[in-house]
Amino acid sequence: MADTPKTKKSKNLNRTPEQKQKQPTSPPDHLIVPSTPNSSLRRSIRLTATATPPPPSSLQKSPHSTAKPPRNYQNAPKSPSFTISISPTSPEPTESKKRRKNTENQDMDLEKKRILRSAKANAIKSKKRMYYKKVVFDGVEFSAGDDVYVKRREDASSDEEDPEVEECRVCFKPSGRRIMIECDDCLNGFHLKCLRPPLKDVPEGDWICNFCTARKSGAMVKFPEPPNGKRLRTAREKLLSSDLWAAHIESLWKEADGTYWFRARWYIIPEETSSGRQPHNLRRELYQTNDFADVEMESIIRHCYVMNPKEFAKAGNEGDDVFLCEYEYDIRWRSFKRIAEIDNNDEDGEEADGDEDWNSCEGSDPDTEDNIEYEEENKRSTLTGPSSAHPMAANSRKGRIFGLQKIGAKKIPEHVRCHKQTALEKAKATLLLATLPKSLPCRDKEMDEITAFIKGAICDDQCLGRCLYIHGVPGTGKTMSFLSVMRNLRSEVDAGSIQPYCFVEINGLKLASPENIYTVIYEALSGHRVGWKKALYSLNERFSNETKCRKEEIRPCILLIDELDLLVTRNQSVLYNILDWPNKPNSKLIVIGIANTMDLPEKLLPRISSRMGIQRLCFGPYNYLQLQEIILSRLRGIDAFEKQAIEFASRKVAAVSGDARRALEICRRAAELADYRCKRLPSLSNSAATGKVLVGMADVEVAIKEMFQAPHIQVIRSSSKLSKIFLAAMVHELYKTGMGETTFEKLAMTVSCFCTSNGETFPGYDILLKVGCKLGECRILLCEPAAKHKLQKLQLNFPSDDVIFALKDSEELPWLAKYL
């Protein structure tokens, strides 16, 4: 433990972090150049100011000398020893076939090594392995989750003189105190002063060196020859020219014979994928594979840093060994998939929970991998399409979904990378309902109340009868506020200020039947899936059993039921059962129900409403100021909307429903319309090119109309002549009799009257009937089935004023106006 921080510290000291301001430059536009994602800080700024003495590379050491006793046991998992039957050979064949392109003797080496290792592995399979979270190896600390360079060849002698510090490509001196800039194309480093003409500052955006620009324009360029004849390649260059591997350390362990091993998850460079380097790949891009191998610690060279795009954009001073990884590459299906960031967090959380999960999934891995390998072999020999060897159907869950790894893009689509978002597109993205806002404005009071309620309930020893009923119209942030409260509480649990609890979230509308809720709750609490009757029995036992003194064991459980009104059955037993549990002395259950209607408890049986209706929280509809604030908070920093336009949208929505989703959708639709306008209409594109297109009142108005108005007026206007006459006759009949409903016989009389007195041909009853039915199909009319013929009842579905408005100034039939 003692020397670990020291090495780290000295490393950190040696690198001087420095921040740069940037001037805007226009990126070259003659070819598609992917811009570094979200580059607020650019990778090209390289600040390896002083030479770091490279730690003696580990490869020359014999195994026994490396076996330093790891000192940080306290970080190791609580149950450090268990047996796992990993067959380390499994991923190797594909590995060797894929990676080996240049030399055959490597194959031999690997082959040898593999045999050796598998023999060894078989021998010690039964013995115990010690798993660690951190291992100090050669004075460098490696922990699970780090990324490292791994030697590709055993005999690589050149690795000895592996330089840690990159030299300037022109003067061949290490960077020293001077700033170096990295070409975004060839990744060579240059001193600012060595460039022709010399640069003063690091420019913003992507920068390409003179050599590359010259080469692109067709000229033959020679880089200056290094003074000592042989240029040393950095680890990064070796990796990118596939002489090294990069791997992610999944786990570390010590074998029984004292050697240290780690489980590596390989990274792969774009050239090694099936689709090769794609034009929009970044130079420093790597792909994570789903390919694992057990590797001895000896073959590690040193750390490198593989980051997701966000970290990559932020990273400033990690030096040369920084890589970007956004996608996972499936070596079996040769497809790409984005790595979900949210997921990783979740998994971290789960890992902290218990080792059993981790353990078991480790244990199951060899099987699947064997399987994969086997199938891959099969596929190669037959070259058939998808293998049908999957034993499990994809949609029957039983704990996991099978075959999802098949899904993936064969290539990363270009538009994902090479597209610069305009302000409008950014606005559209932030206005999406799915994007979680950073903050929830205007719901502070309600959130405080929920927090107080839950805290009170958890801290209370008995927590008797804790039910909260939350109601409010849709789109007022009920569920979202509650979930954000839960997130806040979770961080408090992590900090240790409140005791842990479990949280079960159920949506009433997603249950197949109300009784199904027992199954879902039971599954969430215990992990087993049983029928609802059995689940109800076990839940009853769990919540009401007083004899078992397991008070300490049971965590308080928060049960969130969204769309509570869906659980109302005929005898309301489901709701009664659920709301009765909190009243049991040892249940430690807190029920929170969310629904739209305010008076749901009153509609229920008294024994239920007395259990639920005591504590309520109302989410009122947003008023226009709040809606405006919500929209503005999302659009912060994006200049795409006129201020009045937002106000107009929020006023309109506040007047109708106060639904935040609606307001956001209107704004998004308005942005879409504006975007469409400037993209598709060539006459307006000039203004789009010169100035920015702002979303104005007109767009918002169109969006509002689209959302709130039925398009019946347009349909009536464009319908056939006879249907217009038909509708006019309907209105006429309505005014004459004062009755909304009429029969087809009467109406046909009126229509034939109209026609004969105005010189139109009366087409006959059957055609008229058909026209009426067509109108009924569009629900402009409400009508009975046509089989009733002359007795068919008809009624206008829209206000007669709308019909009059639509028909009044019809050009085809000017005489209609006199009947309206």
């Binding site: 984005r338 899904i407 290539k411 597209h419 994007t435 039925a710 349909v715 056939s720 067509k774 199909e777």
Partner: protein
């Protein structure tokens, strides 16, 4: 097999054009304010910007909602290969939520070559859908759900729509829900919480205007000049057609056609019948063909049924009519027989048939739906005693009698008397 003559080939070509909605609607795809480009923009922008969207295509039947959508999807599949999976559901088949989700899983499995299990429960399928949405989103794939007859999905508790739209409320998913409905108030049918999750893009499909109809006619009927047909034939055909198009009589025909129904669908059927009437000897379309097609397409089924009736049946209908005019309460077979008898007694007609013959005529009328029982109750009762009502109005009956070739004069007189 003998080589077909150019006329036959031309007929086949035009017929196949008429039956291919993609061809017909391709002329509507150019202008920027067309539904085609709007829809394409909505879908492709949600493709490239990785967002969720939902659109409703509304409009009367036969205006090309599905056809335009198919065109757009076809283009997009070409433009972005391997990035789109289309799931098609129909409200008539999958209005039940269980069945809809199962169908989605089935199509997803088929699309991605996964094994599908029929036994999976609602929960399993819902979970499968959610995780598929996520995985596809991560792989930059968009799932497009096409819900035909959207209004039928909005029955009942709308569990399916809710779970579908709620699954789309996540950043990782990329999906577009396209609802197609001829009900203009389809979005009002949604429950509040479902509506709140629906992004209300609406595209309205309208019947083509007069000018569009003319363009469409030329687009469909004119033969291509650069094809395998003999050159002289093509020019002759096209010249003849253009002459017909310019004729005012033809314009009248189009007017009468669009007078009652101006949708593309209607036009299509009209043209198909025209082309079927084409004279294969000359190989050219004539005005008579169009006229003949118009008369076949504007049928008057009730009048035609009347024409097929026997004289006795006409008697029964007139009797019914008289009973209705007298506003007699109970109108069943016995009452009709009484009336029939009284007519016979007063006018001494030659057509008097026995009761059982009349009963058969009566039953025949029932089958023809010229009359029907008043209500559905009393199935046990024999037909003679159940009250019946007339399903044909007086003017129609009058017209029918007039056009009946050998109608007894007495019936005309009777009709005139009470009218």
């Amino acid at each position: 097999m003998a080589r077909e003559s150019p006329a036959e080939q031309a007929q086949v070509l035009v017929k196949s054009r008429i039956c291919n909605p993609n061809f017909i609607f391709s002329i509507f795809s150019n202008p920027p304010d067309s539904n085609y480009s709007k829809l394409k923009y909505i879908i492709s922008s949600s493709l490239t910007e990785a967002c969720n969207n939902s659109v409703l295509l509304l409009g009367p039947r036969g205006c090309g909602k599905v056809a335009i959508l198919e065109l757009v999807l076809e283009d997009l599949l070409e433009e972005y290969p391997d990035m789109i999976s289309v799931i098609k559901l129909n409200g008539l088949l999958h209005c039940d939520h269980n069945c809809a989700l199962k169908e989605i899983s089935r199509q997803l499995c088929q699309e991605h070559q996964l094994l599908f299990s029929k036994m999976a429960s609602f929960d399993d399928n819902a979970q499968f859908m959610v995780s598929m949405l996520r995985e596809c989103g991560l792989a930059h794939k968009t799932i497009i759900f096409v819900l035909d007859e959207f209004d039928l999905f909005a029955q009942g508790k709308q569990l399916f729509l809710y779970s579908l739209l709620d699954a789309m409320q996540s950043v990782t998913s990329q999906a577009v829900v396209i609802g197609i409905s001829c009900r203009l108030d389809a979005d009002q049918l949604l429950e509040k919480r479902v509506r709140s999750r629906f992004s209300h893009r609406k595209l309205l499909f309208l019947p083509p205007s007069r000018e569009d109809t003319e363009r469409l006619l030329e687009h469909i009927l004119l033969l291509p000049t650069n094809s395998s047909f003999p050159h002289e034939y093509v020019t002759a055909f096209n010249v003849k057609l253009l002459k017909i198009f310019a004729d005012y009589k033809f314009k009248e025909i189009v007017d009468t056609l669009s007078y009652s129904d101006s949708t593309v669908n209607h036009l299509q059927r009209f043209l198909f019948s025209t082309v079927s009437h084409m004279d294969l000897k000359s190989g050219l379309l004539s005005l008579e063909n169009f006229k003949a097609a118009l008369s076949t397409i504007q049928r008057q089924p009730k009048l035609e049924v009347l024409k097929d009736c026997s004289i006795l049946e006409l008697y029964i209908l007139v009797c019914m009519k008289r009973l209705e005019a007298k506003e007699q309460e109970l109108r069943n077979f016995n009452a009709i027989m009484k009336e029939y008898k009284s007519i016979h007694d007063t006018f001494q007609t030659s057509n008097y048939y026995a009761r059982n013959v009349c009963l058969r005529a009566f039953e025949h009328l029932l089958q023809r739906e010229l009359i029907s029982f008043e209500d559905n109750r009393g199935h046990g009762q024999s037909a003679e005693f159940r009250p019946v009502k007339l399903l044909i109005s007086r003017p129609e009956l009058y017209q029918g009698l007039k056009s009946y070739p050998s109608c007894p004069a007495i019936l005309h007189k009777l009709m005139d008397r009470d009218g």
